[in-house]
C-alpha cells in the first residue's frame, strides 16, 4: 500500500498466515480521511483472501477518534462528510462479508466512525479504561449508518441508547452491553491470541457459520429495508443547516 496512514500486512502466526490491518496516523489520533477508508477497504479485501484471520488495530495511544472533521469544515456543502460516511459503510460491510474472523484491538478510544467499525468485527478486545461512543449528534450528524451492524452485536435498546446519547462509556460498560467481548490490560497481545485461534479453525465451516450469522442478524433485510437504507438516513442530513451550524462550533472548542 502506498499510503503512509494505512498498513496492510500478512504475518505468520504459529504457522498460519494472518492479516494485520493498521490505522497508522497516530499524530491525529488515527482520524479517518476518505483516502484512508478506501485503503482500509482495499486492504481488508486483499488480506481477506490471503490470510486465515484478521487483526484490526490502531497505531499509538488511541485506536481511532473517528472522522477527520477538519476536512469536513473545508467542504461546507457536505461533500467530504458524504465521502466519509459512504467509505465507512463500505469498509464495515467489507469486514462483515469477509470469510475470515476479524478481531479488533482497542486502546485509548474508539469514537464515532472508530466505534462504528467495531460493529463489523467478530471480536472486540479492549483496554478497560478505553472510551467508546458516538458523540456525532453534537455536530448535527446522524450515526444511523452504523446502526444495523451495531444492532447485530447489541440489543436494540443498547444500540438506541448508544446512538442517541452523545456521552461516552468506558470499555467495562461496553463489555456489559456486549460491544466489547474481552477486557485486557494488553489488548493487542490478547487480540493476537484470538486471531490465532480463529486462524486455526476449519475455513469452510468458519466461513459458512459467519455468513449464516450475518444473514440471521441483518436488521435491514429482516425489516424489509434496502441494504443501505441506514447510510441513506445519515447522508440525508449532510451539508444541512444543522451540520453547518454545529460542526464548526464543535471544532473551535
Amino acid at each position: 500500500m502506498s499510503s503512509s496512514h494505512v498498513r496492510a500486512e500478512t504475518v505468520d502466526l504459529d504457522g498460519q498466515p494472518v492479516g494485520v490491518l493498521t490505522i497508522d496516523r497516530p499524530d491525529k489520533r488515527n482520524a479517518l480521511t476518505p483516502e484512508m477508508l478506501a485503503e482500509l477497504d482495499q486492504g481488508a479485501r486483499e488480506l481477506g483472501s490471503a490470510s486465515h484471520a484478521l487483526l484490526l488495530r490502531g497505531e499509538g495511544t488511541v485506536f481511532c477518534a473517528g472522522f477527520d472533521l477538519s476536512l469536513c469544515v473545508e467542504a461546507p456543502d457536505g461533500a467530504v462528510m458524504r465521502e466519509l460516511l459512504t467509505g465507512l459503510d463500505r469498509f464495515i460491510r467489507t469486514l462483515r462479508g469477509l470469510p475470515i474472523g476479524v478481531v479488533a484491538s482497542v486502546q485509548g478510544a474508539a469514537l464515532a466512525g472508530g466505534c462504528a467499525v467495531l460493529g463489523g468485527c467478530e471480536l472486540v478486545i479492549a483496554h478497560p479504561e478505553s472510551k467508546l461512543g458516538y458523540p456525532v449528534v453534537r455536530i448535527g450528524v446522524s450515526p444511523a449508518v452504523s446502526a444495523p451492524t451495531l444492532m447485530s452485536r447489541l440489543s436494540a435498546g443498547a444500540t438506541r441508547s448508544r446512538q442517541l446519547d452523545p456521552g461516552l462509556i468506558d470499555a467495562r460498560r461496553a463489555h456489559e452491553l456486549g460491544l466489547v467481548d474481552v477486557l485486557s490490560d494488553d489488548p493487542e497481545r490478547e487480540a493476537r491470541a484470538h486471531v490465532q485461534a480463529f486462524a486455526s479453525k476449519p475455513p469452510e465451516a468458519f466461513a459458512r457459520t459467519k455468513a449464516w450469522l450475518n444473514e440471521l442478524t441483518d436488521a435491514e433485510s429482516e425489516m424489509g429495508l434496502d441494504a443501505g437504507a441506514s447510510l441513506a438516513r445519515s447522508l440525508d442530513l449532510t451539508g444541512g443547516d444543522e451540520e453547518r451550524a454545529m460542526l464548526p462550533r464543535a471544532l473551535r472548542r
Binding site: 456525532v136 449528534v137 453534537r138 455536530i139 448535527g140 450528524v141 446522524s142 450515526p143 444511523a144 446502526a147 444495523p148 444492532m151 447489541l154 440489543s155 436494540a156 435498546g157 443498547a158 444500540t159 438506541r160 441508547s161 446512538q163 442517541l164 446519547d165 452523545p166 456521552g167 456489559e176 452491553l177 436488521a219 435491514e220 425489516m223 429495508l225 437504507a229 441506514s230 438516513r233 445519515s234 440525508d236 442530513l237 444541512g240 444543522e242 451540520e243 454545529m246
Partner: protein
C-alpha cells in the same frame, strides 16, 4: 371539570411529562392514559420553534408508576381491552415522537409501569428503586410490554425476566442492561436525569430525530399492529378463570 392526571411542561429544549396520580402510585387508569395521550398529541402538533429536543417522563410522588390499575377495570368486561389498547398506543406514539424520550424512574416502575419506562428511548433510575414484571405471578400475561422488553434488553434476558416474574432493584436492572444511567440513590436521581437530558439536548434535533426514526425502522418500535396484538392477548388472558381468581385474591389482600 375533572382534575388533570398528566401534565406537560416545556423549558427550552427539555419537556417534562409527569404522571400525576400520586395517591394511587400513578397506576395506569383509563383517565390517566387519556391525559398522557393528550399530552403526547400536544407534542405531536408542536412544530419547530417551541418544540423540545428531549422529553423526560416521570411520576409525581413516591413511585414512577405502579402498573395497570386492574382493580378499577376488572368489574367491567369492556374496560380491560380499552386500558390495554391505550398502553399499546402510548408505547408506539412515544417511539414515534421526534424527541429523545427519557424515563426518569423514581421509586418504582412495576408491570405496565416498567413497560412504560421501557417504551421510552432511555431509562434512568436509582440503585434502590424497584423495577420488574410480576404479571405472571398474578395470572396476568405481560403481552403488551413483552416486545418493549425484548427490544430493550434482548430476547434471552427478556424471556428470563418475564417468565420469572417478581421485581428487582435498580442495580439489578442495570446489570441486565435495562438502565442507561443509574443514580446511586433517590436524592441524586434528579441531578443524574438532568445531566443526561442536557447531554442529549446538546445533540442536533434533526440528527437525533433521523437516527431515532431509523432505529424504529430497524427494531419494529412503531409496529402498531404488533402492539395491539399484544393488547389482545393480554385481554384474553384477563378474561380467563385463572386471572380472575388470582386477581380477586390479590385485591382482597391489598
Amino acid at each position: 371539570m375533572s382534575e388533570t392526571l398528566a401534565t406537560l411542561e416545556v423549558s427550552e429544549k427539555i419537556g417534562t411529562l409527569t404522571l400525576r396520580r400520586p395517591e394511587a402510585r400513578n397506576a395506569l387508569s383509563i383517565p390517566l392514559l387519556d391525559d398522557l395521550l393528550a399530552c403526547v398529541s400536544e407534542l405531536e402538533s408542536t412544530v419547530d420553534a417551541g418544540r423540545p429536543t428531549v422529553l423526560v417522563v416521570t411520576g409525581e410522588g413516591r413511585a414512577f408508576c405502579a402498573g395497570m390499575d386492574l382493580k378499577a377495570v376488572m368489574g367491567d368486561p369492556e374496560a380491560p381491552p380499552q386500558l390495554l389498547n391505550r398502553i399499546a398506543d402510548l408505547s408506539v406514539r412515544l417511539r414515534s415522537l421526534p424527541q429523545v424520550v427519557v424515563a426518569q424512574v423514581n421509586g418504582a416502575a412495576i408491570g405496565g409501569g416498567c413497560g412504560l419506562a421501557c417504551a421510552c428511548d432511555l431509562l434512568v433510575t436509582h440503585a434502590d428503586a424497584k423495577l420488574g414484571f410480576p404479571e405472571v405471578d398474578l395470572g396476568v400475561c405481560p403481552a403488551v410490554v413483552a416486545p418493549l422488553l425484548v427490544r430493550k434488553i434482548g430476547p434471552g434476558r427478556a424471556r428470563r425476566v418475564l417468565l420469572s416474574g417478581g421485581v428487582m432493584s435498580g442495580s439489578e436492572a442495570d446489570a441486565l442492561g435495562m438502565v442507561d444511567a443509574l443514580a446511586p440513590d433517590r436524592d441524586s436521581l434528579g441531578q443524574v436525569a438532568e445531566e443526561l437530558a442536557k447531554r442529549l439536548a446538546s445533540g442536533g434535533p434533526a440528527a437525533l430525530a433521523a437516527t431515532k426514526r431509523l432505529l424504529n425502522e430497524l427494531d419494529g418500535s412503531v409496529d402498531g399492529s404488533r402492539a395491539l396484538l399484544g393488547a389482545e392477548i393480554s385481554a384474553s388472558v384477563l378474561r380467563g378463570e385463572e386471572a380472575r381468581t388470582m386477581l380477586a385474591k390479590a385485591f382482597a389482600g391489598s
